[in-house]
């Protein structure tokens, strides 16, 4: 007798897989059917997610269904679903955004020759992401973690004729893989000590007894390495801006709201386990802070609209990690949820502009009349305000929660960094908004460079425009209203947490200070970009040093490039390939040549002058005689 919850969960998980299989095997020739199938499948997932939320939203006990998928010696790999408030919340978020983005893509991707493939990969992603969300053990989570990375690779490189896109896909895959290696090693370490990878088992306090404290810290940091890769944190942060080469809906779905958030989700998932090691938590906090600030500075100088949001994604993910690492489970998850909403909205709005004006350059969009696209621009402004943390939007509440957690830290530097981050965030967000709202019409450059090679007809059918606008409006709702649900969410999430959530002191000055910082950023942006005679050049752009530093991503990319070129390509790879050709093969070929040469030398005895042969013969006979008779 199958439980309804299990049936719902399985339906929700397997529907996208089925859609993927059908699309890739049978339906490649009929793109519209593929799109419909994919949307229906993810709609089914959303339905089952909502059903599960309704059934289990109130119950404090997590549900786990698990079967043994594979047994090999002592190793047993389970497969199943794990339903607790966190996974349910995440599942709803993922399914919702997947659905909205897929609907939006109907308009955005209309007419693309690879539409069927696009929806196939989207279904693959939906399956992998949902299964990751519901994974009951770390190994299953890792499996889908990798699959999510794979679909990210495939979708970034979707327009594979563009060199930059394939390059970005490769970079994304390899860099996240670097993190995954750490993650896998962490899993191996945990497995070697604990013998079990169930998330529930790992999240008990008894785990600490199975480890040496230092080993535990190492294991946690290794797993955190996976988070760093997937969530594009310092030092593996540069793949995410490049990943914007993919179609904009992909960026909205994977590279802002869901996939990159999987790292943060993993942190939250293992939050009790992580909090066993204060050292590791401190490292996580530092990494989150550095990533947040670095990415924010990078966002201040770029003119590519998608890149700005990509940097801001990194920055906000770092902010979530700060919240989690500073001890507030709720703050991190809450910010994750609100961020998913408003960041997806930001990307989708950006997609409308890019689609319409065929450029990624925010200045060019503004000059070409970006403000005539009223609905997207309003939505984007709303979302940017939420991103900046202005009341009363959702971002304000979640940011405030994180700030509170930071304020509870003994060292005030974290709070200072957080406030600085809020200031920078507001600044770069509204820099973009103001550049589109209030363009300078002085130099009427009407030939924007076509950075988005994806061509399409300008005269769009009405339904395509509509299909792109509806998701915006739908997403704007949570951006407006999610903040009001803070207390509900808090109690809902707390039910799933085994340890007690630390009660944070209520600091009345904190919301004011935080929004004050954000407001300051906004005002600075207004002075530099918004007002009538604004210089339209940011303070960071004035100095060539800072500008190149920020635009070159603090030279991190260049460092990696040099690393790959010098150490790997020209160093180790050359060493190995050269070693193969010259040392090993050289030795073998030398052996062969030696054999031939010695053969020649011996055969030379038969080719010298006849008298020498005679002499040799006699010499041999004489020595034989010596040997036999003496």
């Amino acid at each position: 007798m199958m439980d309804i919850s299990l049936a719902a969960a399985l339906t929700g998980l397997l529907a996208p897989l089925l859609a993927f299989a059908l699309i890739m095997v049978l339906l490649r020739g009929r793109p519209h059917l593929c799109a419909g199938l994919s949307i229906a499948a993810v709609g089914l997932s959303l339905g089952s997610a909502l059903l599960l939320l309704a059934r289990h939203g109130a119950s404090p006990n997590p549900l786990e269904y698990s079967v043994q998928w594979m047994v090999s010696g002592d190793l047993a790999v389970g497969a199943g679903v794990f339903l607790d408030p966190l996974s349910l919340l995440m599942m709803v978020v993922v399914a919702l955004i997947c659905l909205l983005v897929q609907i939006y893509s109907l308009g955005y991707m209309a007419g693309d020759p690879g539409l069927a493939r696009y929806y196939g990969f989207m279904s693959l992603f939906a399956w992998a992401m949902l299964s990751l969300t519901l994974a009951p053990n770390l190994l299953q989570l890792y499996v889908f973690w990798e699959l999510v990375g794979l679909s990210s690779y495939l979708l970034i490189g979707f327009w594979f004729e563009k060199y930059s896109a394939t390059q970005a896909g490769k970079k994304a895959f390899v860099m996240t893989r670097l993190g995954d290696v750490a993650f896998l090693l962490g899993i191996l370490l945990v497995l070697a000590h604990l013998g079990n990878l169930g998330i529930r088992e790992m999240n008990t306090a008894a785990v600490a007894a199975a480890f040496e404290p230092s080993t535990l810290t190492v294991a946690i940091l290794l797993i955190f390495g996976g988070i760093v890769g997937k969530s594009a944190q310092f030092p593996l942060l540069t793949w995410l801006p490049d990943a914007m080469e993919g179609p904009t809906p992909v960026s909205a779905l994977l590279h802002s709201a869901t996939m990159v958030a999987a790292g943060v989700y993993l942190f939250a998932r293992l939050y009790p386990f992580f909090s066993l090691s204060p050292t590791a938590m401190a490292v996580c906090l530092a990494v989150g802070t550095i990533s947040m600030l670095l990415a924010a500075t990078m966002a201040m100088v770029t003119r590519d609209i998608k890149q700005v949001w990509a940097y801001s994604t990194i920055s906000q993910l770092g902010f979530m990690l700060m919240g989690l690492a500073s001890g507030s489970y709720f703050a991190g998850v809450f910010h994750l949820t609100t961020h998913a909403g408003f960041k997806a909205l930001l990307f989708l709005c950006a997609g409308v502009f890019i689609h319409h004006f065929e450029t990624n350059d925010m200045v060019a969009i503004g000059r070409a009349g970006g403000r005539r696209q009223l609905i997207p621009l309003v939505c984007m402004t709303l979302a940017a305000a939420a991103l900046a943390g202005l009341p009363p939007l959702s971002g304000f509440f979640s940011k405030e929660a994180v700030m509170a957690a930071l304020a509870a830290q003994p060292n005030p530097i974290w709070l200072g960094a957080g406030l600085l981050g809020a200031f920078l965030t507001a600044y770069y967000a509204f820099r973009l908004i103001f550049l589109i709202w209030f363009p300078d019409r002085v130099s009427a450059e009407t030939a924007p460079e076509n950075t988005d090679a994806h061509g399409h007809a300008h005269a769009q059918p009405r339904w395509q425009v509509l299909v792109m606008l509806v998701p915006l409006v739908v997403l704007a709702l949570p951006t407006l209203g999610l903040g009001g649900l803070q207390t509900h969410l808090m109690s809902f999430l707390a039910a799933g947490l085994t340890g007690p959530e630390p009660v944070l002191p209520h600091l009345p000055w904190l919301p004011l200070t935080a929004s004050g910082c954000a407001l300051a950023g906004l005002i600075l942006a207004w002075f530099e970009f918004g007002r009538r005679r604004a210089p339209r050049i940011g303070f960071a752009e004035r100095s060539a040093f800072w500008r190149s530093l920020f635009a070159e991503r603090w030279y991190i990319d260049r460092f990696y490039r040099a690393l790959v070129d010098r150490v790997i390509d020209r160093g180790l790879a050359r060493l190995c390939a050269g070693g193969d050709r010259h040392v090993i093969d050289g030795a073998v070929d030398g052996l062969g040549r030696g054999t031939v040469a010695s053969g020649k030398a011996v055969s030379g005895l038969h080719r010298i002058m006849i008298q020498h042969r005679l002499g040799t013969m006699f010499a041999v006979i004489i020595f034989l005689a010596l040997y036999f008779f003496i």
Partner: protein
């Protein structure tokens, strides 16, 4: 070891099926290409059906040796025709069946000396099947050499890119290997004093002294290790892969390299367990070097088949690492990796072979934009590359994962290095994809057609197998366990 005799000689029927195919092909006139291909497809398909049948009939609850056939052949020397399969050899038989069938289908477009090609291919596969099922040391050696001999001709006649050099190098290396194996066999048989080549009789734990076991294992390890591509005896393999025609590359990388690992397992580990324990650290070291070395060397290659060749070195290193762990998980992972890697490289070479037949180039610089002209064909290449990277839900992921888990307990440093090699492996595989499949449409290749349904069939089968065992690894692991657990339990500690 539990031994269950059989009523119907299933194993011999596989051999006779191959031989029947060989004889039928030899009897056909050489110019009737179509008939020869159909006959080859029929007989190879029949062998595939037979191996599948064995896979289904094998009783996993009983385990041990099943379908045993034993006929005394030269009693005075103790040589018997002795066949039987267990959880280790059955996956290999299945692998050989699949790869053989798909290899024959892959060569459907061959026009040059068709009769000789398929005849030699059948001879080669007869040796391979014989080796995997034989339990008599003498026959194992004979089958080993039977499977090596046709390789030379197949590569030297139908190959490309320095084919004579590749064929000669391969043959010399493998003969050097057999020059170590034969003394090993003779040494152990003589030392046992039993006057028999029967593997099961020689497997008794107390038969050989520790020194004899160490020496014997070393001989087998190096001898078979050459064939398994153990670093630093691997350089024949990329050269050979590159030189060989498509089907031979498939059989060669897919099955023949597995013979090496299987030989280490069957002869080395079964006969000389103490030697195994003694040499395990060396095996782990060489295997890890091979894993890391393979990916780095692969990074520099410009010929797509060289890339695959070096990735094979790396993947076979994982097999070696699994064997070196001396644990159930490690053995399971190693044998599964043998299977998965066989299917994967077969797919890889098959996909590349199709592209090569059309474009007449294997150089990465000259390809590019293939996904525009042949999306399906390049799709197969993409799947093969992803399997090579170890993406989950594709067969080799589970094998690698199991090996990593097992080796991490025993050799944490090696395991870390091996896991780290995954990154470079991803880097170079994706680089290959980027340079071949992706990029702007290539005008030079624009006229080429995509793979048709019939020609796609072998690749489809391989992809299906990869997905099947990737999604349901338990199918394979439960089978392998029936052999690995008794082996480990019987180990003298």
């Amino acid at each position: 070891m539990h031994i269950s005799p059989t009523a119907f000689p299933w194993l011999s029927s596989i051999l006779f099926c191959c031989l029947g195919g060989l004889i039928t092909i030899l009897l056909l006139p050489g110019r009737r290409h179509q008939e020869i291909k159909w006959v080859s497809a029929f007989f190879s398909g029949l062998t595939l059906v037979l191996t599948l049948n064995l896979f289904l009939l094998y009783d996993q609850r009983v385990g041990g040796l099943q379908f045993v056939e034993r006929v005394s052949w030269i009693p005075s020397l103790g040589i018997t025709y002795f066949n039987g399969i267990d959880g280790f050899s059955l996956p290999m038989l299945l692998l050989s069946g699949i790869v053989f069938f798909t290899a024959v289908l892959t060569m459907w477009e061959l026009e040059h000396r068709v009769k000789e090609f398929f005849a030699l291919l059948f001879l080669l596969v007869t040796g391979v099947f014989g080796l995997f099922m034989s339990l008599d040391l003498f026959f194992i050696f004979v089958w080993y050499d039977v499977s090596l001999f046709p390789m030379y001709l197949l590569i030297a006649i139908w190959g490309s890119t320095r084919k004579e050099y590749g064929a000669m190098k391969l043959t010399l290396y493998l003969l050097a290997g057999s020059a170590l194996i034969l003394p090993g066999i003779v040494y152990l048989v003589v030392q046992s004093g039993l006057q028999t080549f029967d593997l099961t009789a020689l497997m008794r734990a107390d038969l050989f002294s520790p020194f004899e076991q160490k020496l014997g294992f070393f001989l087998f390890y190096i001898g078979f290790g050459i064939l398994a591509g153990v670093w630093p005896f691997h350089t024949w393999s990329p050269v050979g892969h590159v030189a060989a025609p498509t089907a031979v590359s498939m059989v060669h990388a897919g099955v023949l390299m597995k013979i090496g690992a299987f030989g280490i397992l069957r002869l080395g580990i079964f006969l000389c367990p103490l030697g195994w324990l003694y040499w395990a650290p060396l095996m782990a070291l060489l295997a890890t070097i091979g894993i890391v070395y393979g990916v780095f060397a692969g990074l520099r290659q410009t010929d797509i088949k060289y890339v695959i060749g070096y990735s094979s070195v790396s993947h076979m290193g994982i097999v070696g690492l699994g064997l070196a762990t001396v644990s159930v998980e490690g053995l399971n992972g190693a044998v599964f990796q043998m299977f998965a890697h066989g299917i994967m490289t077969a797919l890889f070479f098959s996909a590349v072979g199709y592209i090569y037949d059309r474009t007449h180039t294997k150089a990465l610089d000259e390809l590019g934009g293939l996904s525009h002209t042949m999306p399906v064909a390049s799709g197969y290449l993409v799947i093969a590359a992803l399997t090579g990277i170890g993406v989950p839900c594709l067969a080799s992921f589970w094998a690698e994962l199991t090996v990593f888990i097992a080796s991490f307990r025993v050799y944490p440093l090696y395991a870390t290095l091996a896991v780290a090699a995954l990154v470079v492996s991803a880097l170079f595989m994706l680089r290959v994809l980027q340079r071949t499949c992706y990029g702007p449409p290539n005008e030079r290749l624009a006229h080429l057609g995509d793979v048709s349904l019939g020609l796609g069939l072998p690749r489809m089968i391989l992809v299906a197998v990869i997905l099947l065992f990737g999604l349901f690894p338990a199918l394979m692991f439960e089978l392998i366990q029936t052999a690995s657990i008794p082996l480990l339990n019987g180990l003298p500690r």
